[in-house]
Amino acid sequence: MSITMQCRFVRDTFSINVDVSVASGCVLGIAGENGSGKTTTLDMIAGLLPCTAGSITIDGEVVDDSEMGTFLQPEHRGVATVFQGGGLLPHLSVERNLTFGRGRVLRSTPRFTEVVDAFDLHDLLRRKTNELSGGQRQRTSLARAFLSPSRILLLDEPTTFLDVDSRNAIRRLMKEWFETYEGTVVLVSHDSTEIEDLADVALRVNATRGTTTEANLVQG
Protein backbone atom coordinates (compact mmCIF):
# COMPACT_ATOMS: atom_id res chain seq x y z
CA MET A 1 0.00 0.00 0.00
CA SER A 2 1.53 3.29 -1.04
CA ILE A 3 0.56 6.57 0.55
CA THR A 4 0.66 9.97 -1.09
CA MET A 5 -0.03 13.11 0.92
CA GLN A 6 -0.11 16.58 -0.56
CA CYS A 7 -2.05 18.47 2.01
CA ARG A 8 -2.20 21.15 4.61
CA PHE A 9 -3.74 21.20 8.04
CA VAL A 10 -4.58 24.39 9.90
CA ARG A 11 -6.01 24.86 13.36
CA ASP A 12 -5.88 28.06 15.38
CA THR A 13 -2.26 29.21 15.33
CA PHE A 14 -0.83 25.92 14.05
CA SER A 15 -0.39 24.84 10.47
CA ILE A 16 1.49 22.07 8.74
CA ASN A 17 2.24 21.38 5.08
CA VAL A 18 2.76 17.76 4.16
CA ASP A 19 4.17 16.64 0.81
CA VAL A 20 5.23 13.04 1.13
CA SER A 21 5.00 9.78 -0.79
CA VAL A 22 5.65 6.43 0.82
CA ALA A 23 6.26 3.42 -1.40
CA SER A 24 4.49 0.17 -0.66
CA GLY A 25 6.29 -1.96 1.92
CA CYS A 26 8.48 0.90 3.08
CA VAL A 27 9.09 1.99 6.68
CA LEU A 28 8.89 5.77 6.77
CA GLY A 29 10.21 7.42 9.90
CA ILE A 30 9.10 10.92 10.85
CA ALA A 31 11.15 12.73 13.48
CA GLY A 32 10.48 16.12 14.99
CA GLU A 33 9.97 17.95 18.23
CA ASN A 34 6.84 17.69 20.33
CA GLY A 35 4.04 19.80 18.96
CA SER A 36 5.49 19.94 15.45
CA GLY A 37 2.54 18.11 13.88
CA LYS A 38 3.76 14.52 13.69
CA THR A 39 0.63 13.10 15.33
CA THR A 40 -1.54 15.39 13.20
CA THR A 41 0.08 13.84 10.11
CA LEU A 42 -0.75 10.32 11.31
CA ASP A 43 -4.29 11.36 12.22
CA MET A 44 -4.81 12.64 8.69
CA ILE A 45 -3.68 9.32 7.19
CA ALA A 46 -5.84 7.38 9.65
CA GLY A 47 -8.90 9.51 8.91
CA LEU A 48 -9.21 10.91 12.42
CA LEU A 49 -8.68 14.45 11.10
CA PRO A 50 -9.70 15.74 7.67
CA CYS A 51 -7.01 17.81 5.98
CA THR A 52 -7.80 21.48 5.57
CA ALA A 53 -6.62 21.60 1.96
CA GLY A 54 -5.16 19.15 -0.53
CA SER A 55 -5.53 15.42 -0.78
CA ILE A 56 -4.40 12.04 0.55
CA THR A 57 -4.23 8.92 -1.59
CA ILE A 58 -3.83 5.36 -0.34
CA ASP A 59 -2.85 2.83 -3.01
CA GLY A 60 -4.29 5.00 -5.76
CA GLU A 61 -7.60 5.60 -3.97
CA VAL A 62 -8.33 9.15 -2.89
CA VAL A 63 -9.30 8.89 0.78
CA ASP A 64 -9.35 12.60 1.59
CA ASP A 65 -9.75 15.49 -0.80
CA SER A 66 -10.83 18.92 0.34
CA GLU A 67 -11.90 20.05 -3.14
CA MET A 68 -13.79 16.95 -4.19
CA GLY A 69 -15.32 16.66 -0.72
CA THR A 70 -14.02 13.11 -0.31
CA PHE A 71 -13.47 11.78 3.18
CA LEU A 72 -13.23 8.05 3.80
CA GLN A 73 -14.01 7.15 7.43
CA PRO A 74 -11.18 5.55 9.46
CA GLU A 75 -12.88 2.15 9.66
CA HIS A 76 -12.77 1.91 5.85
CA ARG A 77 -9.17 2.99 5.31
CA GLY A 78 -7.44 -0.24 6.23
CA VAL A 79 -5.00 1.28 8.70
CA ALA A 80 -3.82 -0.17 11.99
CA THR A 81 -2.65 2.18 14.72
CA VAL A 82 -0.33 2.02 17.70
CA PHE A 83 -0.77 5.20 19.66
CA GLN A 84 1.28 6.74 22.41
CA GLY A 85 0.18 4.91 25.55
CA GLY A 86 -1.27 2.14 23.38
CA GLY A 87 -4.74 3.41 22.54
CA LEU A 88 -6.08 0.20 24.06
CA LEU A 89 -9.65 -0.19 25.24
CA PRO A 90 -9.16 0.03 29.03
CA HIS A 91 -12.39 -1.78 29.91
CA LEU A 92 -11.58 -4.88 27.87
CA SER A 93 -9.16 -7.76 28.37
CA VAL A 94 -5.98 -8.12 26.33
CA GLU A 95 -7.68 -10.87 24.35
CA ARG A 96 -10.74 -8.75 23.57
CA ASN A 97 -8.43 -5.92 22.52
CA LEU A 98 -6.53 -8.21 20.19
CA THR A 99 -9.71 -9.50 18.56
CA PHE A 100 -11.55 -6.14 18.63
CA GLY A 101 -13.52 -5.68 15.43
CA ARG A 102 -12.62 -9.16 14.22
CA GLY A 103 -14.77 -11.62 16.13
CA ARG A 104 -13.69 -14.48 18.36
CA VAL A 105 -12.81 -16.83 15.47
CA LEU A 106 -9.51 -14.99 15.16
CA ARG A 107 -8.52 -16.52 18.47
CA SER A 108 -8.28 -20.05 17.05
CA THR A 109 -6.09 -19.10 14.08
CA PRO A 110 -2.39 -20.04 13.93
CA ARG A 111 -1.61 -16.36 13.31
CA PHE A 112 -3.12 -15.44 16.68
CA THR A 113 -0.98 -18.00 18.50
CA GLU A 114 2.10 -16.88 16.61
CA VAL A 115 1.62 -13.20 17.46
CA VAL A 116 0.65 -13.86 21.10
CA ASP A 117 3.78 -15.98 21.54
CA ALA A 118 6.06 -13.50 19.82
CA PHE A 119 4.80 -10.62 21.96
CA ASP A 120 4.81 -12.75 25.09
CA LEU A 121 1.15 -12.06 25.88
CA HIS A 122 -0.01 -15.54 26.72
CA ASP A 123 -0.23 -14.97 30.49
CA LEU A 124 -1.87 -11.58 30.04
CA LEU A 125 -4.77 -12.55 27.77
CA ARG A 126 -7.39 -12.39 30.53
CA ARG A 127 -6.05 -9.24 32.17
CA LYS A 128 -7.76 -5.89 31.64
CA THR A 129 -5.47 -3.51 29.81
CA ASN A 130 -5.73 -0.78 32.45
CA GLU A 131 -3.94 -3.15 34.84
CA LEU A 132 -0.92 -3.55 32.56
CA SER A 133 2.50 -1.90 32.76
CA GLY A 134 3.54 0.51 30.02
CA GLY A 135 5.66 -2.11 28.27
CA GLN A 136 2.89 -4.71 28.41
CA ARG A 137 0.48 -2.18 26.92
CA GLN A 138 2.74 -1.37 24.03
CA ARG A 139 3.29 -5.09 23.37
CA THR A 140 -0.48 -5.61 23.32
CA SER A 141 -0.96 -2.61 21.08
CA LEU A 142 1.71 -3.79 18.61
CA ALA A 143 0.29 -7.33 18.63
CA ARG A 144 -3.19 -5.93 17.86
CA ALA A 145 -1.76 -3.98 14.93
CA PHE A 146 0.09 -7.00 13.52
CA LEU A 147 -3.04 -9.14 13.86
CA SER A 148 -5.02 -6.63 11.85
CA PRO A 149 -5.55 -7.40 8.15
CA SER A 150 -4.70 -3.75 7.44
CA ARG A 151 -1.68 -3.15 5.23
CA ILE A 152 -0.80 0.24 6.65
CA LEU A 153 0.62 0.50 10.13
CA LEU A 154 0.78 3.87 11.88
CA LEU A 155 2.93 4.11 15.00
CA ASP A 156 2.86 7.22 17.18
CA GLU A 157 5.72 7.38 19.69
CA PRO A 158 5.50 3.64 20.45
CA THR A 159 8.30 3.70 23.03
CA THR A 160 7.80 7.06 24.71
CA PHE A 161 7.14 6.85 28.47
CA LEU A 162 8.74 3.39 28.69
CA ASP A 163 11.72 2.59 30.89
CA VAL A 164 14.98 1.78 29.12
CA ASP A 165 14.59 -2.01 29.27
CA SER A 166 11.03 -2.01 27.93
CA ARG A 167 11.98 0.51 25.26
CA ASN A 168 14.81 -1.69 24.01
CA ALA A 169 12.55 -4.75 24.08
CA ILE A 170 9.81 -2.98 22.09
CA ARG A 171 12.36 -1.70 19.57
CA ARG A 172 13.74 -5.20 19.08
CA LEU A 173 10.21 -6.52 18.49
CA MET A 174 9.42 -3.75 16.01
CA LYS A 175 12.67 -4.30 14.13
CA GLU A 176 12.03 -8.02 13.92
CA TRP A 177 8.41 -7.66 12.77
CA PHE A 178 9.01 -4.84 10.29
CA GLU A 179 11.32 -7.17 8.35
CA THR A 180 8.57 -9.65 7.52
CA TYR A 181 5.68 -7.17 7.50
CA GLU A 182 4.18 -6.88 4.04
CA GLY A 183 2.48 -3.56 4.58
CA THR A 184 3.66 0.02 4.77
CA VAL A 185 4.78 1.53 8.07
CA VAL A 186 4.77 5.15 9.18
CA LEU A 187 6.67 5.57 12.45
CA VAL A 188 6.60 8.85 14.32
CA SER A 189 9.04 9.60 17.12
CA HIS A 190 10.72 12.57 18.74
CA ASP A 191 13.70 10.27 19.25
CA SER A 192 15.81 10.39 16.08
CA THR A 193 17.92 7.37 17.09
CA GLU A 194 14.72 5.29 17.03
CA ILE A 195 13.98 6.56 13.52
CA GLU A 196 17.53 5.84 12.32
CA ASP A 197 17.37 2.40 13.85
CA LEU A 198 14.03 1.34 12.36
CA ALA A 199 13.13 3.36 9.29
CA ASP A 200 14.06 2.79 5.63
CA VAL A 201 13.40 6.43 4.86
CA ALA A 202 13.71 9.17 7.48
CA LEU A 203 12.08 12.59 7.33
CA ARG A 204 12.04 15.44 9.76
CA VAL A 205 9.30 17.98 10.45
CA ASN A 206 10.67 21.49 10.31
CA ALA A 207 8.71 23.85 12.46
CA THR A 208 9.18 27.56 12.90
CA ARG A 209 7.59 28.95 15.98
CA GLY A 210 6.45 32.44 16.64
CA THR A 211 3.00 33.73 17.40
CA THR A 212 1.99 31.01 14.94
CA THR A 213 3.66 27.67 14.29
CA GLU A 214 4.35 26.87 10.67
CA ALA A 215 5.50 23.28 10.12
CA ASN A 216 6.67 21.55 6.98
CA LEU A 217 7.05 17.88 6.24
CA VAL A 218 8.42 17.73 2.74
CA GLN A 219 10.34 14.99 1.00
CA GLY A 220 13.58 16.45 -0.36
Binding site: Q73, A80, F83, Q84, L88, F100
Partner: protein
Amino acid sequence: MTRRLSHPRGLSFLGLPAAGLVIVPIVAVVWRTPWSNFWSSISNDASRTALALSLRTSLIATLLALVFGTPLAWMLANSTFRGRAVVRALLVLPMVLPPVVGGVALLFAFGRRGLVGGVLDDWFGIRLAFTETATVMAEFFVAAPFFIVVMEAAFEQVDRRVLGAARTFGAGPWRSFLTVTIPLVRPSLIAGLVLTWARALGEFGATITFAGNTPGRTQTVPLAVYSALESGNDSALALSMLMVAVSVVVLVALRGRWISALRRGGE
Protein backbone atom coordinates in the same frame (compact mmCIF):
# COMPACT_ATOMS: atom_id res chain seq x y z
CA MET B 1 3.58 19.43 74.34
CA THR B 2 1.97 17.54 71.48
CA ARG B 3 4.51 16.67 68.87
CA ARG B 4 2.86 17.87 65.70
CA LEU B 5 2.89 20.82 63.34
CA SER B 6 0.85 23.59 64.92
CA HIS B 7 -2.46 24.69 63.44
CA PRO B 8 -4.11 28.12 63.64
CA ARG B 9 -5.40 28.00 67.21
CA GLY B 10 -9.18 28.01 67.60
CA LEU B 11 -9.99 27.85 63.89
CA SER B 12 -11.66 24.45 64.16
CA PHE B 13 -14.01 25.73 66.88
CA LEU B 14 -15.48 28.23 64.45
CA GLY B 15 -16.58 25.31 62.32
CA LEU B 16 -18.67 23.72 65.06
CA PRO B 17 -21.85 25.83 64.57
CA ALA B 18 -21.94 24.82 60.90
CA ALA B 19 -21.65 21.16 61.78
CA GLY B 20 -24.30 21.57 64.49
CA LEU B 21 -26.76 23.35 62.26
CA VAL B 22 -26.58 20.52 59.73
CA ILE B 23 -26.34 17.55 62.05
CA VAL B 24 -28.74 18.47 64.88
CA PRO B 25 -31.91 18.58 62.70
CA ILE B 26 -31.12 15.15 61.24
CA VAL B 27 -30.60 13.77 64.73
CA ALA B 28 -33.88 15.41 65.79
CA VAL B 29 -35.82 13.63 63.05
CA VAL B 30 -34.37 10.28 64.07
CA TRP B 31 -34.96 11.12 67.75
CA ARG B 32 -38.56 12.23 67.44
CA THR B 33 -39.73 9.67 64.92
CA PRO B 34 -42.62 7.73 66.50
CA TRP B 35 -40.88 4.39 66.12
CA SER B 36 -43.70 2.45 67.82
CA ASN B 37 -46.18 3.33 65.08
CA PHE B 38 -43.62 4.06 62.36
CA TRP B 39 -44.84 1.28 60.12
CA SER B 40 -48.52 2.20 60.41
CA SER B 41 -47.65 5.87 59.75
CA ILE B 42 -45.98 5.14 56.46
CA SER B 43 -48.32 2.35 55.42
CA ASN B 44 -51.61 4.20 55.78
CA ASP B 45 -53.44 4.90 52.53
CA ALA B 46 -52.33 8.52 52.14
CA SER B 47 -48.66 7.70 52.77
CA ARG B 48 -48.72 4.63 50.55
CA THR B 49 -50.28 6.56 47.68
CA ALA B 50 -47.71 9.34 48.06
CA LEU B 51 -44.86 6.83 48.20
CA ALA B 52 -46.04 4.99 45.09
CA LEU B 53 -46.51 8.27 43.22
CA SER B 54 -43.09 9.53 44.28
CA LEU B 55 -41.39 6.32 43.28
CA ARG B 56 -43.17 6.16 39.93
CA THR B 57 -42.67 9.79 38.91
CA SER B 58 -39.06 10.01 40.09
CA LEU B 59 -38.12 6.83 38.24
CA ILE B 60 -39.82 8.03 35.05
CA ALA B 61 -38.07 11.41 35.34
CA THR B 62 -34.73 9.62 35.80
CA LEU B 63 -35.39 7.35 32.84
CA LEU B 64 -36.22 10.38 30.69
CA ALA B 65 -32.98 12.01 31.83
CA LEU B 66 -31.11 8.87 30.76
CA VAL B 67 -32.77 8.57 27.37
CA PHE B 68 -32.72 12.24 26.36
CA GLY B 69 -30.01 13.65 28.64
CA THR B 70 -27.30 11.28 27.46
CA PRO B 71 -27.44 12.40 23.80
CA LEU B 72 -27.66 16.03 24.89
CA ALA B 73 -24.61 15.69 27.14
CA TRP B 74 -22.74 13.92 24.36
CA MET B 75 -23.57 16.71 21.96
CA LEU B 76 -22.39 19.38 24.43
CA ALA B 77 -19.13 17.50 24.97
CA ASN B 78 -18.42 16.78 21.31
CA SER B 79 -19.65 19.60 19.16
CA THR B 80 -18.40 23.14 18.94
CA PHE B 81 -21.43 25.00 17.63
CA ARG B 82 -21.77 28.69 18.31
CA GLY B 83 -23.70 29.50 21.44
CA ARG B 84 -22.75 26.22 23.10
CA ALA B 85 -21.78 28.12 26.26
CA VAL B 86 -25.21 29.80 26.34
CA VAL B 87 -27.06 26.50 25.84
CA ARG B 88 -24.99 24.90 28.58
CA ALA B 89 -25.60 27.77 31.00
CA LEU B 90 -29.36 27.64 30.37
CA LEU B 91 -29.40 23.87 30.89
CA VAL B 92 -27.60 24.18 34.20
CA LEU B 93 -29.76 27.09 35.37
CA PRO B 94 -32.38 24.86 37.11
CA MET B 95 -29.61 23.65 39.45
CA VAL B 96 -29.29 27.11 40.99
CA LEU B 97 -32.78 28.46 40.31
CA PRO B 98 -35.21 28.42 43.25
CA PRO B 99 -37.44 25.43 42.44
CA VAL B 100 -40.60 27.53 42.93
CA VAL B 101 -39.41 29.80 40.16
CA GLY B 102 -38.87 26.69 38.05
CA GLY B 103 -42.50 25.77 38.73
CA VAL B 104 -43.64 29.24 37.68
CA ALA B 105 -41.57 28.93 34.51
CA LEU B 106 -43.10 25.53 33.76
CA LEU B 107 -46.57 26.95 34.36
CA PHE B 108 -45.99 29.75 31.85
CA ALA B 109 -44.58 27.31 29.34
CA PHE B 110 -46.87 24.30 29.67
CA GLY B 111 -49.81 25.66 31.68
CA ARG B 112 -53.17 26.15 29.98
CA ARG B 113 -52.29 29.68 28.93
CA GLY B 114 -48.62 28.90 28.54
CA LEU B 115 -46.37 29.29 25.52
CA VAL B 116 -46.66 25.64 24.52
CA GLY B 117 -49.48 24.61 26.83
CA GLY B 118 -51.91 27.00 25.13
CA VAL B 119 -51.27 25.37 21.77
CA LEU B 120 -51.55 21.88 23.25
CA ASP B 121 -54.88 22.75 24.86
CA ASP B 122 -56.38 24.58 21.84
CA TRP B 123 -55.31 22.08 19.20
CA PHE B 124 -55.22 18.75 20.97
CA GLY B 125 -57.13 19.31 24.19
CA ILE B 126 -54.08 18.26 26.19
CA ARG B 127 -53.73 19.85 29.61
CA LEU B 128 -50.48 19.16 31.38
CA ALA B 129 -50.52 21.38 34.47
CA PHE B 130 -51.75 19.81 37.71
CA THR B 131 -51.46 16.24 36.41
CA GLU B 132 -49.11 13.39 37.21
CA THR B 133 -47.31 14.22 33.94
CA ALA B 134 -46.68 17.70 35.36
CA THR B 135 -45.11 16.08 38.43
CA VAL B 136 -42.72 14.15 36.18
CA MET B 137 -41.96 17.30 34.19
CA ALA B 138 -41.23 19.32 37.33
CA GLU B 139 -38.93 16.60 38.63
CA PHE B 140 -37.19 16.33 35.27
CA PHE B 141 -36.75 20.11 35.07
CA VAL B 142 -35.04 20.27 38.44
CA ALA B 143 -33.12 16.97 38.40
CA ALA B 144 -32.05 16.29 34.79
CA PRO B 145 -29.40 19.06 34.77
CA PHE B 146 -27.44 17.07 37.37
CA PHE B 147 -27.33 14.13 35.01
CA ILE B 148 -26.41 16.27 32.01
CA VAL B 149 -23.56 17.98 33.87
CA VAL B 150 -22.11 14.70 35.14
CA MET B 151 -22.39 13.05 31.73
CA GLU B 152 -20.94 15.97 29.81
CA ALA B 153 -17.84 15.87 32.03
CA ALA B 154 -17.64 12.11 31.56
CA PHE B 155 -17.90 12.31 27.77
CA GLU B 156 -15.25 15.03 27.70
CA GLN B 157 -12.83 12.80 29.55
CA VAL B 158 -13.12 9.84 27.23
CA ASP B 159 -9.69 9.41 25.66
CA ARG B 160 -9.90 10.48 21.99
CA ARG B 161 -6.96 8.21 21.22
CA VAL B 162 -8.85 5.16 22.45
CA LEU B 163 -11.87 6.10 20.35
CA GLY B 164 -9.62 6.82 17.37
CA ALA B 165 -7.95 3.43 17.72
CA ALA B 166 -11.36 1.72 17.90
CA ARG B 167 -12.37 3.46 14.67
CA THR B 168 -9.21 2.43 12.80
CA PHE B 169 -9.69 -1.17 13.95
CA GLY B 170 -13.01 -1.29 12.19
CA ALA B 171 -15.70 0.01 14.55
CA GLY B 172 -18.09 2.46 12.93
CA PRO B 173 -19.30 5.57 14.80
CA TRP B 174 -22.32 3.89 16.41
CA ARG B 175 -20.41 0.78 17.33
CA SER B 176 -17.60 2.76 18.97
CA PHE B 177 -20.18 4.84 20.83
CA LEU B 178 -21.97 1.77 22.19
CA THR B 179 -19.01 -0.55 22.82
CA VAL B 180 -16.31 1.96 23.79
CA THR B 181 -17.75 5.31 24.89
CA ILE B 182 -20.67 4.01 26.94
CA PRO B 183 -18.65 1.37 28.87
CA LEU B 184 -16.01 4.02 29.60
CA VAL B 185 -18.54 6.47 31.05
CA ARG B 186 -20.51 3.81 32.91
CA PRO B 187 -19.34 4.78 36.44
CA SER B 188 -20.43 8.37 35.83
CA LEU B 189 -23.63 7.18 34.22
CA ILE B 190 -24.59 5.25 37.35
CA ALA B 191 -23.53 8.07 39.68
CA GLY B 192 -25.46 10.58 37.58
CA LEU B 193 -28.59 8.44 37.59
CA VAL B 194 -28.50 7.98 41.38
CA LEU B 195 -27.99 11.71 41.96
CA THR B 196 -30.76 12.59 39.53
CA TRP B 197 -33.17 10.13 41.05
CA ALA B 198 -32.43 11.41 44.57
CA ARG B 199 -33.01 15.00 43.46
CA ALA B 200 -36.25 14.06 41.66
CA LEU B 201 -37.50 12.15 44.69
CA GLY B 202 -37.01 15.18 46.91
CA GLU B 203 -38.51 17.74 44.53
CA PHE B 204 -40.97 20.09 46.22
CA GLY B 205 -41.08 23.68 44.97
CA ALA B 206 -41.49 23.16 41.23
CA THR B 207 -43.94 20.31 41.80
CA ILE B 208 -46.29 22.19 44.14
CA THR B 209 -46.32 25.18 41.77
CA PHE B 210 -46.77 23.37 38.47
CA ALA B 211 -48.46 20.12 39.49
CA GLY B 212 -50.22 21.16 42.65
CA ASN B 213 -50.74 19.15 45.82
CA THR B 214 -53.61 16.81 45.05
CA PRO B 215 -53.50 13.62 47.14
CA GLY B 216 -53.43 10.55 44.89
CA ARG B 217 -52.63 12.59 41.79
CA THR B 218 -49.74 14.93 42.34
CA GLN B 219 -49.00 14.68 46.05
CA THR B 220 -45.51 13.20 46.24
CA VAL B 221 -43.82 12.31 49.54
CA PRO B 222 -42.27 15.76 50.16
CA LEU B 223 -45.69 17.35 49.55
CA ALA B 224 -47.34 14.77 51.79
CA VAL B 225 -44.84 15.61 54.53
CA TYR B 226 -45.70 19.28 54.18
CA SER B 227 -49.46 18.63 54.28
CA ALA B 228 -49.17 16.21 57.19
CA LEU B 229 -47.13 18.74 59.16
CA GLU B 230 -49.75 21.43 58.49
CA SER B 231 -52.47 19.19 59.88
CA GLY B 232 -50.36 18.00 62.81
CA ASN B 233 -50.27 14.46 61.54
CA ASP B 234 -47.70 11.96 62.90
CA SER B 235 -46.85 10.69 59.44
CA ALA B 236 -44.88 13.89 58.73
CA LEU B 237 -42.07 12.65 60.95
CA ALA B 238 -42.28 9.06 59.79
CA LEU B 239 -42.15 10.05 56.11
CA SER B 240 -39.31 12.48 56.84
CA MET B 241 -37.42 9.68 58.52
CA LEU B 242 -37.97 7.53 55.45
CA MET B 243 -36.55 10.26 53.20
CA VAL B 244 -33.53 10.62 55.50
CA ALA B 245 -32.95 6.88 55.25
CA VAL B 246 -33.23 6.89 51.45
CA SER B 247 -30.77 9.80 51.27
CA VAL B 248 -28.30 7.98 53.51
CA VAL B 249 -28.53 4.89 51.32
CA VAL B 250 -27.91 7.05 48.21
CA LEU B 251 -24.88 8.70 49.82
CA VAL B 252 -23.38 5.42 50.95
CA ALA B 253 -23.90 3.94 47.50
CA LEU B 254 -22.30 6.97 45.84
CA ARG B 255 -19.41 7.09 48.27
CA GLY B 256 -18.49 3.47 48.00
CA ARG B 257 -18.04 3.16 44.28
CA TRP B 258 -19.27 6.10 42.36
CA ILE B 259 -18.42 9.42 43.97
CA SER B 260 -14.92 9.24 42.51
CA ALA B 261 -16.52 8.63 39.12
CA LEU B 262 -17.98 12.11 39.33
CA ARG B 263 -14.47 13.50 39.35
CA ARG B 264 -12.85 10.99 37.03
CA GLY B 265 -15.57 10.85 34.43
CA GLY B 266 -14.55 8.13 32.02
CA GLU B 267 -11.49 5.99 32.69
